[in-house]
Amino acid sequence: MRFAPGHRAWVVLAAVLLASCADKPAGVVDVDFWTIGREGEAMAKLVPAFEREHPGIRVHVQQMPLTAAHQKLFTAFAGNSMPDITQLGNTWLPEMQALNAIEPLDAYVATSKVVDKADYFPSIWATNTIDGKLWGVPWYVDTRLLFYRVDILKEVGFDGPPRTWDEWRRQLAAVRSRGNGKGFAVLLPTNEYEPLMSLALQSDEPLLRDGGRYGNFRSEGFKRALTFYVDTFKAKQAPNITNVEAGNPWTEFGRGVYAFYLSGPWNIGEFRKRIDAKDQDDWSTAALPGINGPGASNAGGSSLVIFRSSKHKQEAWQLVEFLSRPDIQRQFYDLLGDMPPRRSSWEGGTLANDPKARAFRDQLERVVPSPAVPEWERIATEMQLVAAQAVAGQISIDDAAAEIDRRTDRILEKRRWVLDHAREHAP
């Protein structure tokens, strides 16, 4: 899960609505809803409409800052003080599922008139399915694709964005040789694992094998992605810097220091804000290039989950349904720029006519979930640390792949034991 950088609030905003608990009419049910990051601000605007439609329910939104959300959810579980419903990044979903903290939602969806599985992007839906059961309903989606400079590509003789890695490589080389070797072609911050992960997910070979028991980074598919990634730095088409050092990529992209930027939906808004109005036609978005033709990218985003401990699951589900309605999802997009996970939500409103969002709509049909194991964030972090060493030329591709596997297998040691242990003790 990723949120726009710069939107980190680090003071936990206490439940704003605490005061309203005081004089509650009889028969009104309280639903506690935790949100992460900016989504809480949008909820404050959406809740009144929900409460008007459901006079018997009162929603208490509590905003968690992204940096504190993970520990707060865990501490709440350990202390048995969970809310009824929460927003949950889909890389955190496997953890909550492993804790047996959240409620399977298959029965709710089966009878729902609003939540229609067929309307959702299949891979986004799949990130919420573990062991054949549904644990959350996708709320908004996040994927990585290419932001590119139309004018620069035209200048070096290309009419459109790349569709294959080979084509992309040629464009990168052409852009790189443009400014007497001063500028770069693409920004791939070396401390973000999403760019490499997105490329690696295009492979047919999974990143983990044997049901998430071992790493599979020595596969040809991953090595091919890692080679492409590392070569981009070796050819000086991407600078070997982190996003801390990159500072302000928007202005630099506007100035043409980079012609490509691999990033997520929130940057549409950032680029609109930060690039001059007269230059707005100079940039666009494109689906991620693949090995042979348009490729896949990662299936990120957040879901809504209901906790097992909740005493108001039905009421919480009504809130899930409300937030899953296409008209509400469009409103949500207008408030925050969070992209909806349902196809029908894309068919109206500002999204339908936004040319910069079109590539995302296209990409969302081709997204792949990251492995659904609780350890995934730690594994991806280690993957990126080793990849950064390969970028710096400290180790070869083969050694890097082997090293990532070694670290992954160590992280997954407990998972293997738990899985095997559970099988031994199964009745």
Partner: protein, 292 residues
């Protein structure tokens, strides 16, 4: 009832409180550090395994632990002398017969100690903002380019040190002030009659007379500074590029972010051992000095 028994009765309340709220948790944490308590164990206690010293062994092989230890030592080695020098300097100024409005300055300089770290961190983050901060505004007046105080991996730790020194020097200042006031005035008088200059008075009277206070203050400050946590937590979240991740911050992330309580406890005990060795070394060093 014998005298011995009576003594135990008098001690009992203190011992019970200490045992219940200090000794017991410490023993529990020690036991925890020998297990692999994690997410799976939180879900189901049957997933808990005894791993002996594996947590410690693994930590010693983790680059992040060593870099966190490096950052902590950086903070202690630069921060403690700076903090003590500032405290001593402020105490000397306040103790000077020339100083006016002493109660006011004493209170003003002590104020940072009693403010909450989170509240003042907000103000410091503004002060050290790259674009709008006063720190860079001042530098630009001197013709120096703006510094990304909290965003640059090289500058983040110095900024944290500055913040911590400002936040904490008042406490030691009060202790030093008490120590300075306990030095008999006739010693200075005698030195003045012998024609000793102010610096040599400071060297040969103030410092030796303050030595016990200095030792106590150093040990307290060192052990306090080793436990660096709140400052990076509220100012930088351990970043940028983990350049302000201290050992205690690592423990917090391990324990409460990833819920690996086993290895988090191991971090805590490793830090305890390091602090114990360092303060014991300081004590021994000072004793040898006194003996010679």
């Amino acid at each position: 009832m014998s005298r011995q028994n009576a003594a135990w009765w008098f001690l009992a309340p203190a011992l019970i409180v200490l045992g219940l709220f200090f000794l017991l948790p410490v023993i529990a944490a020690l036991l925890l550090s020998l297990t692999d308590y994690d997410l799976y164990a939180l879900a189901d206690l049957r997933n808990l395994r005894f791993v002996a010293l594996a947590n410690y062994w693994e930590l010693l092989h983790r680059p992040l632990f060593w870099s966190a230890l490096g950052h902590t030592f950086y903070f202690v080695i630069v921060g403690v002398p700076l903090s003590i020098a500032t405290s001593l300097g402020a105490a000397l100024l306040l103790n000077s017969p020339l100083a006016r409005f002493k109660p006011f300055f004493r209170t003003a300089l002590f104020a940072p100690v009693v403010t909450t770290v989170v509240a003042v961190a907000v103000i410091w983050r503004y002060l050290f903002n790259t674009k709008y901060g006063w720190a860079n505004y001042g530098l630009s007046g001197l013709g120096i380019d703006p510094v990304d105080w909290l965003g640059d991996p090289h500058w983040a730790m110095p900024t944290i040190i500055l913040f911590a020194v400002w936040k904490n020097f008042g406490y030691n200042m009060i202790i030093f002030l008490a120590g300075l006031q306990a030095i008999p005035a006739d010693l200075y008088e005698a030195a003045r009659i012998d024609g000793a200059s102010a610096p040599s008075q400071f060297r040969h009277i103030t410092l030796p007379m303050l030595a016990p206070t200095l030792l106590m203050v150093s040990i307290l400050t060192v052990s306090g500074y080793f436990q660096l946590f709140a400052e990076p937590y509220v100012m930088t979240e351990g970043g940028p590029l983990q350049s302000t991740t201290s050992v205690l911050y690592l423990m917090y992330e391990e324990g409460f972010k990833w819920w690996n309580l086993g290895s988090a406890s191991a971090v805590a005990f490793l830090l305890f051992v390091i602090m114990f060795v360092v303060t014991a070394g300081m004590l021994r060093l000072s004793r040898r000095k006194v003996a010679s």
